[in-house]
C-alpha cells in the first residue's frame, strides 16, 4: 500500500510544475478510473515518480523489482550478478520515467527487455558464468510437509541446473514463457524476435530440458508408481 488516494496524494508535488506534466498525471490516472490504490497502473506510478512522489518509487520497486530480480536469477544462475543487473535495470527505469508514454507499452515488458539485454551483455563479457544454486531461495510453504518441501526444493534446483545447460536464447524464452508466465507476443516484444521464433525456442528448450532431466526422474519423485 502506497497511499490511500493516489490522485489527491499526487497533488502537492504538482504545484509549480508545467501544465503538460500535470496533464500527464491526469491522463495516466484516467486509464484506471475508479481503481483502488493497489490497482494504480505502472504508467501512473511512473508519472507520479517523475513528479517527485517517493511512494511511487517504493511501489514500483515492490512491484517490478522482484520480477526483474527473479528473471535475472533464472537466466544468470548467479545471485550477485542478478542483483547488479536488477539495480541497473531499475536505474534505467528511473531515468527514462519522464520520457515514458503512458499506454503505448507495458512498463514490465520494457523492464524485462532491459534485464534480458543486460543479461546478454554480461554473458558476452563473462563467456561462461556459473550456477549459484545455494543463492536460490528455498520455497517456503508452511502448508506443505517437510518431505514435500524438500522434494520441491530438489525439483526447483534441478530445473535451475537444467536451465543453465540450455543455450542462452532458449533459456530466456523458456524462463519468460513457463516461469514468468508471459504470452508469446509479449516475449516476442521483449526478445525482439517473431512469435514463431519464440514458439520454436520454447519448444526446443522444453525438449532439451526433458532430455537433461530424464535421468533424474527417480531423484525428483517422478518414478512410475
Amino acid at each position: 500500500m502506497v497511499h490511500s488516494d493516489p490522485i489527491s496524494a499526487a497533488q502537492p508535488p504538482l504545484q509549480g510544475l508545467p501544465a503538460w506534466q500535470r496533464c500527464r498525471v491526469s491522463e495516466a490516472h484516467a486509464q484506471q478510473p475508479g481503481k483502488a490504490e493497489s490497482g494504480v497502473s505502472d504508467d501512473a506510478l511512473l508519472v507520479l515518480f517523475t513528479n517527485g512522489d517517493a511512494r511511487a518509487a517504493a511501489a514500483l520497486t515492490e512491484r517490478l523489482g522482484p520480477r526483474a530480480f527473479g528473471v535475472a536469477m533464472r537466466v544468470l544462475g548467479n545471485r550477485a550478478a542478478a542483483e547488479d543487473i536488477t539495480q541497473e535495470a531499475m536505474m534505467r527505469l528511473w531515468r527514462m520515467a519522464p520520457d515514458w508514454q503512458p499506454g503505448q507499452a507495458k512498463v514490465s515488458t520494457w523492464l524485462y527487455r532491459v534485464v534480458m539485454n543486460l543479461c546478454i551483455d554480461l554473458k558476452r563479457r563473462q563467456r561462461g558464468g556459473h550456477v549459484d544454486l545455494d543463492a536460490i531461495p528455498d520455497p517456503p510453504d508452511p502448508g506443505r510437509s517437510a518431505p514435500e518441501q524438500l522434494q520441491d526444493t530438489a525439483r526447483h534446483d534441478a530445473l535451475q541446473q537444467a536451465l543453465m545447460l540450455l543455450p542462452e536464447r532458449q533459456r530466456q524464452a523458456v524462463v519468460l514463457r513457463h516461469i514468468e508466465d508471459l504470452t508469446n507476443p509479449e516475449i516476442s516484444g521483449i526478445m525482439e524476435i517473431s512469435v514463431e521464433a519464440v514458439e520454436s525456442l520454447t519448444a526446443r528448450g522444453k525438449r532439451a530440458l526433458a532430455k537433461i532431466l530424464a535421468n533424474r526422474r527417480d531423484e525428483l519423485g517422478y518414478s512410475d508408481v
Binding site: A54, G65, W94, P139, D152, A210, Y222
Partner: protein, 138 residues
C-alpha cells in the same frame, strides 16, 4: 498423476517443475531494495531540477536575462537571416555615405571644404547669433 506416469521422458512432464518454480517467491534482498530506492531518490532530484529549469521565467541571473532579451529581439526581427540583412544594409548605407558614386553629392567633401566650425555653420544657414545666445551656452 500423469506427470509421474510420464516422468520426464516427454515435454509435458516439465509442467510440474515449472509450477514449482512459479510458486517459489522471489524476494529481493533488503540491501538491493535500499540501493534501488536510493538510486530512485537521486534520479528524482535530477528530474525535479530539470522540471524547475524548464519552467518559464526561471531565474538564471543577469546573463540569462540578457540572453533571453537578445533572443526576443532576434525573434522579433525575423531571426538570424533578417539580422544578416539588416547588418548588410547598414554597412551599405555607411559606405555610400563615405564614398558615394559620382552622381551623388559627397557630404564628406562638402564638410571638408570648410576650415572652421563657424564657417561651416554659417554656410549651412544656421543662425550663429542664435547659436551663441545665452540660452544655448547656459
Amino acid at each position: 498423476m500423469s506427470d509421474k506416469e510420464n516422468g520426464l521422458t516427454d515435454v509435458s512432464g516439465l509442467d510440474d517443475l515449472f509450477a514449482v518454480a512459479r510458486n517459489t517467491p522471489v524476494e529481493m534482498p533488503a540491501s538491493l531494495t535500499a540501493a534501488i530506492l536510493a538510486d530512485a531518490s537521486q534520479v528524482q532530484e535530477l528530474h525535479r531540477q530539470a522540471a524547475l529549469q524548464s519552467l518559464p521565467g526561471a531565474s538564471r541571473g543577469e546573463q540569462g536575462a540578457a540572453q533571453r532579451l537578445w533572443r526576443q529581439f532576434s525573434a522579433a526581427v525575423g531571426g538570424w537571416p533578417s539580422l544578416g540583412g539588416l547588418a548588410a544594409a547598414s554597412l551599405t548605407g555607411l559606405w555610400l555615405g563615405l564614398a558615394p558614386p559620382s552622381f551623388l553629392p559627397d557630404p564628406v567633401a562638402s564638410y571638408a571644404a570648410f576650415s572652421s566650425g563657424s564657417e561651416l555653420i554659417s554656410n549651412q544657414g544656421y543662425d550663429v547669433s542664435l547659436m551663441m545666445s545665452d540660452e544655448v551656452f547656459e
